[in-house]
């Protein structure tokens, strides 16, 4: 009676469905064109670990400052060449620089301005202010020493066989105060060059070279351009000095390493998963059309995901791409379901089949999308990117399947021996029968899980996001220690109502830090007030030298018998505006944040945090100083990771309760059959992680959320389609490809992604094995 209705309905469906399919094609084409334009403008790949971390909503300032500090060195590459022989280090330095200059890739790294060139400029700039630049020791000496004693010293050094080092005419600085000021600046500011331009440390002479990446030439295409260039120059340097030790450091090297690694991992995970999915499809359906269509749905899914992520975030992070590559193993479900159902349905019933499948597919998309969206609950931009990428990818693959597959899949899909065999395995799979078996299984599983979980230890180290090769990290740390490079993640934030107050507050802080440095409790520090003293201090120091120096000049004038008038110096103190506009401030500008929200802000950086109690010492040093705040970004982020690990853990439990409630409404007394496999698999996964010595971090918890979203599906399918081999076939193919994708993600060098992949590798595998154990008994044969 409904016989004629079906074709008419199918035709109706086809007609407006075709329009939708066409519209989807147009959307894809428009998106493609738009992306083409976007990517040709500028590279949209982000490798910066900071981009993954939250901008504190409650403290924008700290985020901005952190970003500023990071940007300050974002293009720098430093090379140290160490040799036991100073002359050899010099030869190596020359050979290295020459090799860099003539290399085919020489445009990638250009030499930075030398310290010497800067020193000459800075000396000229500071000369008019010489009278107000004193070290604390000089200040004390000038205040306390008798004028005659100072005159005696001036005479002695003037007449001494070796004179005194001078940076000006003698009359400009009769007490040789200025060279000492510079010497102290040099000692405290990382400009530690030895007498021959070499650094002395660990029994070696080190020559330093500094380069900047040329923005336009720097590309992250998965090739090791910078490392290659540095390695070739290093060979040239080695030829000049055989016992040479070479150290490299710099953000661009980490960026390149991350890009190279991500490139490799995206290929392994993405193409590996795609190949595996297509192999499974071929085995199950033995025909070219399913392979092409499933591949098309996956490629469109990933492509649209990438496009929308770039549209929303402006850039896509490499870790998002690595994570997104695992999407291949999840998004294939819709296509597989279509073809698994088509095996039993003729081509003319496609419309009806679609109507039949649509609610289930929608529900599957919804649960998976919700699970991925849960990743975005934590305010980490990186996780939100991954969530958006995944949800959009799934939706695009889904839309491709429902709009295009009925249209393009016109032939017949025959059952194959493989699909028959795989579907049939369900009937032979063991099943827990009776309460005793179930209770025994659950008890044993939970005991095993408990044993493993008791070994589980949490770890909220920020470094789980760090994917740089350990060798590169070790070099970076060693070089930072040798050069006394300041930490980018720990610093003081100083605030003041105006420039004068800010600089005075900084001076109060640096007085404490100098004391700590003299006791060797901390390394050095970098403060802009060392180079731009507060106006008050400048006035005091100028008054001091104006009191002492004329007396000294008069005494010397008496001995040498010629008049020695004191020259004039600048009338007003050096101010921030003039200082920041001069080349002299170039190495220190990143310390000056400027006006933010009606306050003046600066940063004081510290180096050598190798002492165990250094962080505590530094935190205490800010105590009781108004407007001074110790900021430890590493600790902040670890705290944040911990906070969200516990929060998401709580949410996971809420999710478990909600899902059980929803299942109860639908399945009542059978609900536990749907639910138990995922729960047991989750518990066992935690146990396995504990047994394997994996730490528990936020990313394991997030993976468990995803497991909850996906694992429940297998239970639903087996309960909904009791004893249906085609449902089991779809579950098996789907689970196998998901399992494989996350397994490949478990190979990632980034600890966070590895944790994610490993958790799902265990979890999905276990749900897949356990689900059929809990399937309902086969329906009694009809009488």
């Amino acid at each position: 009676m409904t016989e004629p209705a079906v074709p008419r309905q199918a035709r109706g469906l086809h007609r407006h469905w075709r329009w939708l399919g066409l519209a989807w094609l147009l959307v894809l084409l428009a998106l493609g064109a738009q992306q083409w334009r976007l990517w040709s403008e500028a590279p949209r790949i982000d490798t910066d670990i900071l981009a993954l971390l939250p901008q504190d909503a409650h403290d924008r300032l700290i985020s901005d400052v952190t970003r500023r500090i990071a940007d300050g060195s974002a293009r720098q590459v430093v090379v140290l060449l160490g040799s036991s022989d100073g002359a050899a280090a010099h030869r190596a330095q020359a050979a290295f620089a020459a090799a860099m200059a003539r290399d085919q890739d020489s445009a990638l790294l250009v030499p930075s301005g030398s310290v010497e060139g800067w020193f000459d400029e800075a000396r000229t700039f500071y000369a008019p202010y010489r009278d107000r630049l004193l070290t604390p020791a000089q200040r004390e000496q000038l205040q306390q020493a008798a004028p005659e004693a100072l005159a005696g010293q001036a005479l002695a050094t003037l007449y001494g066989p070796m004179g005194a080092p001078r940076l000006t005419q003698w009359r400009q600085d009769p007490l040789s105060l200025w060279p000492q000021w510079w010497q102290q600046q040099a000692a405290g500011s990382g400009l530690r060059l030895g007498e021959d331009g070499l650094l002395e440390a660990e029994g070696k002479h080190w020559a330093a070279l500094q380069f900047d990446t040329a923005g336009s030439a720097f590309q992250l295409d998965g090739e090791q351009h910078l490392q290659g260039l540095l390695a070739r120059a290093g060979q040239a340097a080695n030829a000049a000095a055989p016992d040479l030790e070479i150290l490299h450091a710099g953000v661009p090297l980490h960026a390149e390493a991350a890009a190279v690694q991500a490139n490799r991992e995206i290929n392994t995970i993405g193409w590996g998963s795609l190949a595996a999915v297509l192999l499974l499809v071929w085995l199950a359906f033995r025909s070219l059309r399913p392979i092409l269509l499933v591949a098309a749905s996956l490629l469109i899914g990933c492509g649209v995901a990438l496009a929308v992520t770039v549209l929303v975030f402006g850039k896509v992070h490499v870790l998002t791409l690595v994570f997104g590559a695992s999407l291949v193993g999840v998004a294939e479900d819709y296509g597989i379901h279509w073809f698994a159902s088509r095996q039993a349905a003729p081509a003319e019933r496609r419309g009806a089949l679609l109507r039949h499948l649509l609610p289930g597919l929608c529900l599957a998309l919804l649960t998976s999308a919700l699970a991925y969206l849960a990743l975005g609950l934590a305010p980490f931009p990186g996780l939100r990117q991954m969530a958006l990428f995944s949800v959009v990818g799934l939706a695009a693959a889904f839309l491709t399947v429902i709009f295009w597959f009925p249209w393009l899949d016109g032939g017949t899909v025959r059952p194959t021996r493989f699909s028959h065999w795989l579907g049939g395995t369900l009937l032979r799979w063991p099943r827990l029968q009776g309460r005793a078996q179930v209770a025994l299984f659950v008890t044993v599983a939970l005991a095993l899980a408990g044993a493993g979980m008791s070994r589980l230890q949490s770890n909220d180290d920020l470094r789980s996001l760090q994917s740089s090769p350990p060798a590169l990290m070790a070099e970076q740390i060693r070089l930072s220690q040798l050069l006394g490079m300041p930490s980018p993640a720990q610093f003081y934030l100083v605030q003041g109502a105006d420039e004068a107050q800010l600089l005075q507050r900084e001076e109060a802080l640096t007085a404490r830090l100098r004391g700590l440095a003299q006791q060797h409790r901390i390394g050095g520090y970098r403060a802009i007030s060392d180079w731009l003293p507060s106006p008050q201090r400048q006035r005091e120091d100028a008054a001091l030298t104006a009191r002492v120096e004329p007396a000294v000049l008069a005494a010397v004038s008496d001995v040498v018998g010629e008049p020695l008038p004191r020259p004039a110096y600048a009338a007003a103190p050096l101010r921030a505006e003039a200082f920041l506009a001069s080349p002299a401030s170039q190495p220190f500008r990143h310390l000056w944040v400027g006006a933010v929200g009606g306050q003046m802000i600066s940063v004081v950086m510290v180096d050598d945090l190798s002492r165990e109690d250094a962080l505590a010492t530094l935190r205490e040093a800010a105590d009781g100083l108004p407007g001074v705040r110790w900021v430890d970004r590493t600790a902040d982020f670890s705290q944040l990771l911990k906070h969200y690990r516990t929060l998401m853990g709580g949410l996971l439990l809420v999710g478990v309760a909600l899902i059980f409630a929803a299942l109860w409404l639908r399945y009542r007394r059978q609900a536990w059959r749907v639910f138990a496999p995922t729960l047991i698999a989750g518990a066992l996964t935690l146990g396995l992680l504990g047994l394997f010595g994996q730490p528990l971090q936020l990313f394991n918890v997030l993976a468990l959320m995803l497991l909850l979203g996906m694992g429940i599906d297998y239970g639903i399918f087996l309960v909904e389609h009791q004893g249906d081999p085609s449902a089991w076939l779809a579950v098996c193919v789907g689970a196998a490809s998901t399992w494989l994708s996350f397994g490949l993600l478990g190979l990632s060098a980034t600890p966070a992604l590895r944790a994610f992949g490993l958790t799902l590798l265990f979890g999905i595998g276990l749900v897949w094995l356990i689900s059929p154990l809990f399937r309902p008994p086969p329906p009694r044969p009809a009488p």
Partner: protein
């Protein structure tokens, strides 16, 4: 870099007085000269010095006496136009005024980067010519009984401090001229040189502590 020039000057003055006798240069002429120079443990004498410092119309003249002890360093005692004293050792340069007040002009222990300068200095004092010729170009010439060595810095870093160093002598170094990069010029004449007594007096030894 500035403290550097001070220390190097110290090193070189010491060198010129006490170390040149140890030179075993590859250069035959240099070697011939150095073999004829005395190598006492302790050398005492008097000096007259004339400095031409830019910014001063008249040269700065001074006189005094000195002690060079190979194991310890140099005591440079100015007597005219006013008394003062400078003591140079491996670790530091110390000045002492008429009123007894002292000031450390430079402490190599506080400036680790300068330690290698001292390393060079001692390399020089122990007669390690390789270190010397790695830093300076040495030109030697003979004039009858006497000789002259002219040292010019090899590295641009050193050239920032010195234009040239010239020393003349026979059995002893008799005259030194230091021309600085900033054109200041110092001439020192040595006289009344004596190798006896060959040990430091208690008073001299105390000054090195």
């Amino acid at each position: 870099m500035t403290a550097l020039s001070l220390l190097l000057r110290a090193a070189l003055c010491t060198l010129l007085l006490a170390v040149v006798p140890h030179v075993r240069a590859a250069d035959a002429a240099v070697e011939a000269i150095t073999q004829g120079v005395a190598r006492p443990d302790v050398l005492r004498g008097q000096f007259t010095q004339e400095k031409q410092v830019s910014g001063f119309r008249n040269p700065l003249r001074s006189q005094g006496r000195f002690v060079v002890a190979r194991q310890h360093g140099v005591i440079w005692t100015t007597l005219k136009p006013f008394p003062s004293e400078l003591v140079v050792t491996a670790d530091r340069i110390l000045s002492r005024q008429r009123d007894g007040s002292t000031r450390v002009e430079l402490d190599a222990r506080e400036q680790p980067a300068l330690r290698s300068v001292n390393a060079i200095m001692f390399a020089l004092m122990s007669g390690d010519v390789q270190a010397l010729s790695s830093q300076f170009n040495v030109a030697a010439s003979r004039e009858g009984q006497g000789w002259q060595l002219r040292l010019t810095p090899k590295s641009p870093m050193l050239a920032k401090a010195f234009a040239s160093l010239t020393l003349q002598g026979d059995r002893y170094v008799r005259r030194v001229e230091i021309v600085e990069a900033n054109t200041d010029r110092t001439q020192i004449q040595f006289s009344a040189l004596s190798e006896a007594p060959a040990t430091l007096s208690a008073d001299e030894a105390r000054r090195f502590d």
